[in-house]
Every structure is written in C-alpha cells, then in structure tokens.
Symmetry: C2
Subunit: 424 residues, 2 copies
C-alpha cells in the first residue's frame, strides 16, 4: 500500500475491504491492553526469592544495622551496584528508595528551588526557565516540569538520539534553557540507543549552556537488553570528564524493571558539587532510605554477573513479545508509506509514527475493537503531539498470543485510518 | 540544694565538692551516648520476622499484585492500620514509604509551592509566611521550615501542650501564620500529652486563622505507651468535625518506632480537599509506595490487637530506661531549684530545663566526662534556645546500666554548672 501513488478508485476499494476486515475484528469483542509499560507477573516472579533472603541477618558489609535509621547515601554495596549499572564511581552514587521518579523530581526541585551552586543559581530566579524535551518522550518527565511551571521545548528524536544540531543551536540561543530530559538507552518510547557521537555532544552542552543547565540522564533501561551482544551506550560521565563538564549531568537508574517494579532501589549519580547540593536537601526530607530492602536486593543480585544472568531471564520472556510486534509491523507496513518505527533491541516500548493526523483515529478505532492503546499525545509535553502521529506500544504484559491479536487489530486500524484520512 | 537560698560560702563549698566528684567521674573515661532517639537493637529484633513472612504470596486483600507499579494511596489494609492509629476513616489515610518526615516535607511543599486550595492559596505568595513552633520541639520539623525559608515563631510548651492563649492571640494578630508543628502525644522532647482542652482549641484554630493555615499533627508516638492504662489523646479530627475545620489539620504517623526504624510505613491523614491536593503532587513524584513492604507489615501486625501486644514488648524494653532517668533526676533534683522536667509515660525523650544559661555548660562538661548529649539549642528553631536551658535526653539505645552511669554524670554536671553560674 502506497497512498501517495494510489488512485481514488484504489483508495475507495481499500477503504471498503479494510472496513469489512475491521468489522470482523470488532465482532471478536476482544479485551486487550498495550498501554502498560510494566513487567508481567512472570517477570516479577523471577525475583520472588527477595522475601526471606536475609535469614535474620540485617548487617550490611560495613557492619551497619540496616534496620535502624540513618545512612542517607544508601548502603555501600547498593551504591556499588548502582555505580556498575551507570558506569561511574560508587562514591558518586546515592542508593535510594523505591522510585527513581521521586529522585528525579527531587533533583529538579533542587535545581528549581534551591540551586545546585548556591541559592542564586536556583532556576526560579530566571524569567522563564525551560527544559529541552526530545519527542516522543516519557510523559512522567514532562509532568515534573509542568508541575513546577518549567516551560518545555521539544526537539525531535532521530535514530541516533536527539537532533544534536538543533539542541546545540537552541541552547546557544537561549540561556533560559536550564535542563534537558534524556532516556539514552532504549529511549522511551522509540527504543533508540544514543550513538557515541550523541553522547559526546550531550556531554559538551555544559560548555555552551547556562552554568545552571543540567542534563537529566534517565538510564532506566541500562541493562534491559533483549539480545546479546547488546548495543553499548557510551559513558556520558567519561565524556564529561574529558570535556570538563561533570557538573552538567545527573544520572538516574533503578531496579524497578529488574526485581519487583514497585519495591526496588533507585539510584542517582552526579558530580561532587551536584551530590552535595542534592544531599543537603535530601537530608531535610528524610533520615535515610529503606536499607533493609537494599540489603535484600544485594543478596539477590550481589554483582553484575548475577544481574546479567537475571536480565537474561527477563529477555527470554520479553523478547518474543517484541518480536511479535515487529513482525506484525513488518508484515503490514514494510513496503508502504503508512508508518515508521524503530526496531528496539531492549527496553519496554515500540513507537509507531502514522501518517500525520492519524494517531487519534487509530487509537479510537482500536479501542472500539477492544484494544487499548496509550492515549495520543501522551509522549509529548502538555499531551500535544502537533502532527498527531505518535503511538506508543507496550507489549510486556499481555501473552504473546494476545500481543499478536492486538497487533492484528492495530495494523488494520492504521491502514483504515490512513486511507480514510487520504479520502477525506 | 537551693541556690536561691544559699550563702556564698555554701556555694563555694558545693563547687569544691562537685568539682572533685566530677573529676572522679571523668577518670572513669566513659563512652556513653544519650543523643539517639531511635530504637535499640533489642527493640528492632522484635520485628525480625518481617523478612520471609510473605511466603511467596504477593497479593493484597483486594487482589492487587503488590510487586508491580501503582496504588498511589497504599494498600487498603495498610491504610486501615494507619486509620486505626490516627483515629480516622481509612478513606482519609495514605500509606506511604519508609519516612513520615518525607511525607511532612511533601505536605509543607504542597502548601508552600502549590497550595491546598488552588495555586493562589500557595504560601509562597505571602510576604512572610510563618509557622508557630512549640518549644522545645523537634529539630527536623524546624529544618523543613528553614529549608523553605518559612519564618518560625516560638510558643512555649506547658504540661498540657502549647500555651493556647498565646497561640490564639498570635494567630488572630498575624494572618501570615499559615502553619504550626505539633507532636501531640509524648511530645518531642517534653513527653507531654496534649490535654482534651488543648486538642479542642487546636481544632478551633481553623476558625480564626488564614484559610491556608494547616496544623501539622505529627502523632509519631501514638501507640508508644510505657504503661497501661496509658494517657488518651483526644481525636483532633473528631474535634475538627464538630467545629467545621477539617481542612485545617494534617496528621502523620509511622511504624518507624514500631517495626524497623528505617524500613517501616508512613501514614498521612487529612480532609478530602487536603488529600486531593496532596495526591495531585504525589502522583507527579512517584508511581506509588513500596506495597510489598506494606503487605509484609500487615502480615506482622494485621490489626490493633496485635499492634498493642507488639508495643507492650517495646514498653518492657524501654520502660526501665525511662524509669532510670527519672529516678536519677528525682534523686538529684527533687528538692532543689536546679531544674524542671516532665515525667513522660511514653515516647522517646525526657526533657530537662536547667536554670537559665546552663545548658551549654552542662553539655560540654558531660562530653568531657564521656557522656554525649544532644547539642544545646537543638530543640529550638535555628538552634537558638534563648534561655540556654533545655537538654533533651534520649535513653532508649544504651543499656539500663549505661543509662544509669550517664545520668550520674549528667546530674553532677547540672549541679556543678548551676553552682558555677551562680558564683560567676
């Protein structure tokens, strides 16, 4: 199907055929859901041994009784795991509670309200503090900015990461830009891994930006590979050291999609200056993280070797679901102009771009046929996808058979919505 | 010893005797610590069964898989426990992570930055937002205000709670007062339980204060009784309902000093309006609390009956330590004018007021004799105890024998510092 080359007669015929195909699918009364970017029960069960692992021994490697108060930075062995995941020194890592989103919110709050380099560096002092937001992106990142009244400017994602020419030009032109969101590996939702050049240029932004500028490097899928050998993400902190811009990047990760999604450990890494400012505020808001849960995690995943073996089990569950989505897309759209997508080798999402103006229609039609998709616009700041084209597919929770059923519906909806848009 | 009635000769003789007694104590080279308001290892061990209680069953009462994301309000059975502790309806309770301090910070942040009744009600819009702080009080409460630049005004504690005549007069006179900290039961550090009249008058503040005014009712020691029958704290929410001021109070509690101090559950309770505003912000900062840990706690403490039985075991450990402190104070100061104290029937602290101008000297002298005490001023906003008289004693961690040794040193230091102050 090539709409650009189709005659009106062809389009009308396609519309009729697809409409009848759609009606047949609708008659199945499906009840499927491709919205949930979370692990399936089968994945969660991989970590069920967590409960009971401590055997009454609540002492961490350095002799700390993890049951009591204290230890703002987290236990040493958990910080080491975070350091290994993020590729930095353990002294530059904090191990926290169950939510990296909470750490990211706090990190933005520190920048906005208190300042990483003294009170006068707080973003709230600026006339109109702004974040760059690669799109499509992660809605919960955008919500943090919106909550604090930080303006968001979009920048397009490419197959190698954000469009760095645009990023650099914007930052040079506007010193009110004081932050940027990034999911550098298996980006949410496009699944792209930032290229080495992109990472190097991201690390260089600290040289041209407002000194208060911080990259929020949310490495949520650092170890969530579906195949080996997996794509390697270059170390942004190594690049920052080379360029003298260590203060310009804050990194985040968590075990949420490694162990139990709601009961894991979050990590944050940053320069000495950044961590000092962050800890000053953190120490006001808490006496310390749940160190018992940190120790429990370290019994399950004592090192990167055990972590890799654990992630291979996740991959064995998730990979067939990703393959199913990609096969369906390939089969339906390989030789058409109806849509574009990347082929992620990890992470939790596949992102599909319809022709402009079709995403809302596809999502509505799929819903009417019993297939729930993430609302259109969710991957854009303020929920506004100006081209109305991006749809985020999250295939981890349903069974492979259900993913296949849902994708059949999805593909017909894309075709029908595209043809109807052309006809109208 | 009555300094007021003593002759200069008597004072000099006391000084000489006490100085020699102090030197003898110093020679013991003690290493004791009465600063730590946290449970002892023996207390923590009461809850060691927490790890392994789930037996592979991760489903809460309503069928939720607690391992996964979600459930911003906490699991229903944990909310019920919080409701029982705070004496409110479970629908008005959130069960959170491991830190009620974090919830209190967030609750202050909501009031300051976002507003409980719309953005225009945010305290940051005021010229000089102020909190009333009963003194002596809890330093971490004061730090939250200081961090956000909220001015703190002290109000004296009495044996029945804050001096309510002063509180009401200040609030009537200044509409920039938009908050007040309270630890209503076994107050930190005086150990006082607010009287029924105090609770009723606290609930009435909402009728005379700025509509943005909120009482932060930190019921940290709600079930931490040392003797039965224990003093009963009246229900502030019941009083608020009677007076139509439900929006004026936010309540907090936690299991931190019930189970494992650093790995418990925090609770917050409030009106529908207050919880809606809080949850809007909470939902930006996290996907949900650690529900696995909540379920684990509910297996250990399924209801108030089991909670009471559990707290009786804590009391059996803590009560002898409190008794030891009080016996030493009684013996040393019962018929003197050297100090005043309450006799707490629960909580974690005993608070001692020296004669004006002596606290710093006592703490320094005790430190030189190997007994660490909480720094003078710590119980006052900005670390400033204008009369230099309050000392917080925290006896839960050392053994009874060590508490006794430390108190012997303390009492001699108080006497010696008092006599010297009179002589100088």
């Amino acid at each position: 199907m090539h709409l650009d080359q189709a005659t009106p007669e062809q389009l009308r015929q396609w519309e009729a055929d697809l409409a009848s195909e759609y009606q047949a699918l609708k008659a199945q009364a499906l009840n499927l859901d491709l919205t949930r970017g979370k692990p399936s029960s089968e994945q969660l069960s991989l970590s069920d041994a967590l409960d009971g692992l401590l055997n009454g021994s609540y002492i961490s490697a350095d002799g700390t009784d993890v049951r009591n108060y204290g230890g703002l930075e987290g236990i040493q062995e958990a910080r080491q795991l975070g350091a290994d995941i993020l590729g930095v020194d353990a002294a530059r890592v904090l191990a926290g509670g169950n939510s990296s989103l909470t750490m990211m919110f706090q990190a933005v709050l520190v920048g906005y309200q208190f300042g990483y380099q003294g009170a006068e560096s707080a973003w709230k002092n600026l006339k109109a503090p702004k974040f760059l937001c690669p799109v499509p992106g992660y809605d919960r990142h955008f919500s943090v900015c919106e909550q604090l009244g930080i303006e968001m400017i979009t920048v397009p994602m490419t197959a190698t990461g954000p469009d760095m020419d645009k990023v650099e030009a914007m930052i040079k032109a506007d010193e009110q830009i004081i932050g940027m969101w990034c999911v550098p590996k298996y980006s949410n939702p496009t699944g792209v891994v930032y290229s080495d050049e992109t990472v190097e240029r991201m690390a260089g932004l600290g040289k041209i930006a407002n000194p208060a500028f911080r990259v929020f490097w949310d490495n949520a899928y650092a170890v969530h590979d579906l195949k080996q050998p997996a794509p390697q993400l270059a170390s942004i902190m190594a690049a920052c050291v080379r360029q003298g811009t260590e203060d310009s990047v804050l990194q985040f990760a968590s075990t949420s999609k490694i162990t139990h999604a709601g009961a894991g450990i979050a990590f944050m890494a940053g320069s000495e200056t950044n961590l000092a400012a962050f800890k000053q505020v953190l120490g006001i808001t808490t006496i310390g993280p749940d160190k018992v849960n940190q120790l429990r995690h370290m019994k399950l995943l004592p090192n990167m070797e055990s972590l890799s073996a654990h992630m291979a089990k996740h991959a064995a569950i998730v990979a067939p679901r990703f393959a199913c989505v990609l096969e369906n897309l390939e089969q339906a759209f390989a030789n058409t102009d109806l849509g574009r997508w990347e082929k992620p080798q990890g992470g939790y999402f596949i992102s599909f771009d319809t022709q402009p103006g079709c995403a809302n229609a596809v999502i509505r039609m799929a819903a009417e046929a019993g297939v729930k998709l993430t609302p259109a616009g969710a991957t854009y700041p303020y929920g506004n996808d100006p081209a109305d084209c991006n749809i985020r597919l999250a295939p981890t929770v349903p069974s492979v058979a259900d993913v296949d059923r849902a994708m059949k519906v999805f593909c017909v909806c894309v075709k029908l919505a595209s043809v109807r848009a052309r006809l109208s």
